[in-house]
Symmetry: C2
Subunit: 157 residues, 2 copies
Amino acid sequence: MLAAMTDRDGRLAIGELAARSGLAPSALRYYEEMGLIHSERTTGNQRRYPRTALRRVAFVRAAQQVGLSLEEVRAALDRLPVDRAPSATEWNAVARTWQLRIDARIGELERLKERLTGCIGCGCLSLRKCRLYNPGDAAGSQGPGARYLEGDPLPES
Amino acid sequence: MLAAMTDRDGRLAIGELAARSGLAPSALRYYEEMGLIHSERTTGNQRRYPRTALRRVAFVRAAQQVGLSLEEVRAALDRLPVDRAPSATEWNAVARTWQLRIDARIGELERLKERLTGCIGCGCLSLRKCRLYNPGDAAGSQGPGARYLEGDPLPES
DNA sequence: GCTTGACCTCAAGCCTCCTTGAGGTTGCAG
DNA sequence: CTGCAACCTCAAGGAGGCTTGAGGTCAAGC
């Protein structure tokens, strides 16, 4: 029982994968249902994950940190092999997309911070002058709505 | 009808606030219910928002970008005056918290990116060597689980 | 061979952040 | 004064990302 529930082939039972990835089994089943990871079944219908699942799970978690939805992660993972470690080339392709994403996000945050600092500097928070209001570069980010505060004919508030 | 639905006092009807903030009226009612914005009512029970609501809504959206939950935003907003523009000092206090948050987030992303780059460099993605697996610094971030992949006695996969 | 814990499959529930809809009221233009 | 858009409330629904629970099976230790 203490020994890992692992095949001689090194395949992992769901509990094992859960323990190693730090996720709940339920989450792993969910990921599998979403097509993020894949398993084979034993004769008794239990899941057995290839070791690569460990990598894929780590990838998923990391991607979520960057703000990707599981759907987006799936799209990215679909470009990596299911059964073996990715080649440098394969990995490269995926990672490139990611880095763009990360850079974009960092950029957004930095611009936000800058605007915030500007606001502190001016101490105004006036609707007209303050760049915190609809910077105009948040387009395409998350959330509905247009946020077109800037340029409105508003008196100071 | 074309003229803004605005008091002579400059207070905004919900539709007006919605149009100017780019959010749906339903979202604004929700925000109000959450205590993020406040309104007075007309004799006919319609909401009238002070102009400061515009600022507060902008604040909320910006905060969401940084990854704050509405609850956290509420906590931050509670430190700003409801009825007037915040003073530089008041704003400073709030903004400081924010910047820390932004910096932290940027830091996370940069570390992630770095690890990712390292992975490309080594081309390995090995469970032992690759820093993408449980970096050990994701603690306290969102999501359940411990993610303690690193340091596991794993053969190369 | 039995017990016990890990596993299985649904289905339902939960949290956040809203949207949608039904049914009814208000308020401004004409 | 009427008509219609905008507003109101309250209840339900929905997406994303899981968890929980019921009811049942599998497999390893004794």
